[in-house]
Symmetry: C3
Subunit: 345 residues, 3 copies
């Protein structure tokens, strides 16, 4: 019998099943440096310890998206080794900051299954929670993936589709820092919470071309081992004929680009949803634009912006491309990501 | 009104203007590892904590060039977002070592402006100072850049050209360590201060080919966001048709190559001047040679060498190419960098 | 006289000669992050501080192969700058763990010399020992390299070939941790010592394509300056016409791939031998398979597996390619590496 990991197939997932994932990972200042070097991240709250300490953090925190990618990476060998596609995210929460020296582990619970009509694949919904070494839940999120069946003739399970909120209730975002000493010169923008209006669109202007080495280094940093990102030899015979860039790389680069226009929206509080709407390959240049979907006052000093972050490739983000007249995502749109970010008032 | 940063144009700069730059950055051992991995740096003083501690440092210090690039990076959104060219450096000083855990911020003062005769651009001179979290000035330097005018018809300002020394006075280099326990076996070379003669040229022999991923990762490490380094899509229509490598990458690689011949000139004390004399692109191979321009005795145990560091590409550095008969820089010469380095006697 | 390092030629090596190498290097959590990001390493013992602490380590340890590459890198300027080929390894031992903050130095002793019959080259055997800042021997190994003669007409030295064991005696592996709390869910595999049988072959399935930027960054991380890995301009005229990937990069990637099938063989205890059986170039995809060559019980809770780790390129590792009918290594076989790893019982 093989000792390598065959991964789970659709038949292996049952609602209520709990999966403890391998490889506890200690995050360090080394990861902070690499994350910055690979994504271009430059929010003051995650760059300068003095700035972070003046605004409610114990130390220089790990970017929530870095922690997210690390927890996500742990789930790949168990959840998505035989996946066809990563379909979506919901209810991402980041209740406890992650600091250098913290060790993350992850547990997933299967909360939904639905066989596809072709009988060859099915959709699996999991809620994954990431814990620090004190057992505190640092983050959690739901994702659903399309997974191959081991045997197309095996019977379909009872369909269970979880009831997922389209938006994380802002009442659940009270963990935002107080931002006692937010210096807009150091943060890089004068535009605070009140300056943003619902429906406003922001062109983040700058572009970032992604190289094979960059996305591979980033994806290994997260210990995400999905084959499609690393194996050019096998990918030659795949649909695209080449390596695919991990969607988390796109999220992080688009988010880093959004500094130019949203520098004060530093702290990601929750992920409402997200779809990887098109593939990205090495050599493509990512641009980003954002739309303010909603606003919520969290306290006298802090508000939350609900932002749609859209990544496009090889085109002017100032065109604000999203969907065509047919309602489908427009060509070159790679990411439609919906999140709450804290912004000082 | 746009919330993205439009940058400053030539009209926006006035002599005496002080600009506080964004994004305090905490440097860590993660940055030390990345700097080594990206440049090939191997001076013992910046590699081994025991060696550094035996020679006057409190801990393993951050390479002064890494600190320089980080401070430089902070100035890009305010100073050179609309720059045409980075023209030169002067009076670089590094009075206080930077250690892992230090957080750097930066302030620039405009010390000169001169509109060009074409009326479309002008030269801006700034003195930039980098501070640690205790408010100590860790480093400072002057640079001048050619910046676009917003409106070619706007009036020219009164020309002010600062009086800049060609060379930093060695009397200002007393901050060199004492080097109480300099072990030439561990440092990698037997050649100390007395072994070098004025006008001596040193061939550093080794070559380093630079890949797109490498210079992009390095430039993001420094949070330098100049578009020309990252956006292949936009650069297709530029003069060179491709991404340009940040000049700081060339400085650091040339300096790392200079270990082979100048291993004991580990501590960069001052930058006298520097010019990026030709563009470098991914795939080019950097070589370097040095010339001893001057010598100064700093104490009984330490001297300073004034060194010209020249980077050439795709050619034998043993030819010591610099200028042609027409006085212009010879083909393939990328960098002419003039600095003081401390060397044990 | 040149101040750059000419390296040693065959004539310069004499049995009994001791070489103290340059550049003490302090390893940090930054190196741990980079090693993971460059190799895909994911053994729990070297990823999670909590896991490491529960299983006998004082802190999150540095991967023994990372420490090995760093010590190896120090020897390059003295041992193999004029080398034609790196021929083999033996007797690699890792008696003392290396932790972040430790500073490594290296000393080599020449233990054998043999001129080749062509009179132009010779083989040099060295035993290299790496020490931490307390003077403890953290690791040691023997390697032999083919080195150019400076002058083909110089006389041949008396041949001395050291008596090297084919296998490190398992009695010398008592330094393995006790693994008091080995959690196979967190480690990523249920297969412990008893599950492996001698002669068993394991297909590690996954592939990793290596980019120029990746192997260059890794090799500089180790401060290994061998020209063939970095200088595309000079390599154009070499036998292969391009840069060669450092063999240590292949060892580490193959070892990281072996997680898939050998997740509990986390701690490398000794290197019995190793041969780089074919060149690897950027763009090649590495796959790996392992063979259990022997087993040894070290204590009631820990055993050691003697493993052959084979790296192949651009082919299915499930074919278990090693040698052809002529006894020579089969096409595409890049590495034949023989080591002991500790595995909980």
């Amino acid at each position: 019998m093989t000792k390598s990991n065959p991964g789970n197939f659709f038949e292996d997932f049952h609602v209520g099943m709990e999966i403890h994932h391998a490889t506890p990972l200690t995050l360090t200042t080394g990861d902070i440096s690499l994350y910055r070097a690979l994504t271009g991240s430059r929010h003051a709250l995650f760059s300068g310890e003095t700035f972070a300490a003046a605004n409610g953090f114990e130390a220089l925190p790990i970017d929530p998206l870095l922690a997210f990618h690390v927890v996500f990476g742990k789930t790949v060998p168990d959840i998505s080794l035989n996946a066809v596609a990563n379909l979506g995210y919901a209810e991402g929460r980041f209740p406890v900051p992650v600091y250098p020296g913290d060790t993350l582990t992850a547990i997933s619970e299967v909360i939904g299954v639905k066989q596809n009509s072709n009988g060859k694949t099915g959709v699996v919904y999991v809620r994954t929670r990431g814990f620090n070494q004190r057992g505190e839940e640092a983050l959690s999120y739901v994702r659903w993936v399309m997974v191959n069946k081991r045997d197309p003739s095996s019977p379909a399970p009872e369909t269970v589709i979880p009831d997922l909120p389209k938006v994380v209730d802002p009442a659940g975002l009270k963990h935002a820092r107080a931002y006692a000493d937010w210096n807009t010169t150091l943060s890089g923008s004068p535009h605070l919470f009140d300056a943003y209006e619902i429906d406003e669109k922001i062109n983040h202007v700058d572009g970032m071309t992604v190289e094979e080495a960059e996305h591979q280094i980033a994806t290994r940093l997260y210990q995400n081992t999905a084959k499609v990102h690393f194996d050019a030899h096998a990918q030659k015979d795949s649909r695209f004929g080449k390596r695919l860039i991990y969607g988390g790389v796109v999220i992080s680069i688009a988010r880093a680009l959004s500094f130019n226009g949203l520098a004060n929206a530093a702290e990601l509080l929750a992920i409402n949803g997200g779809t990887h709407t098109g593939p990205l390959f090495a050599g493509d240049t990512i641009y980003a634009w954002s739309e303010v979907l909603d606003k919520a006052e969290l306290s006298d000093t802090v508000g939350a912006l609900r932002l749609r972050l859209v990544a496009v490739k090889d085109q002017d983000p100032g065109a604000f491309a999203l969907r065509g007249e047919d309602g489908k995502y427009a060509p070159g749109v790679c990411l439609d990501f919906d999140y709450w970010a804290a912004v000082p008032r």
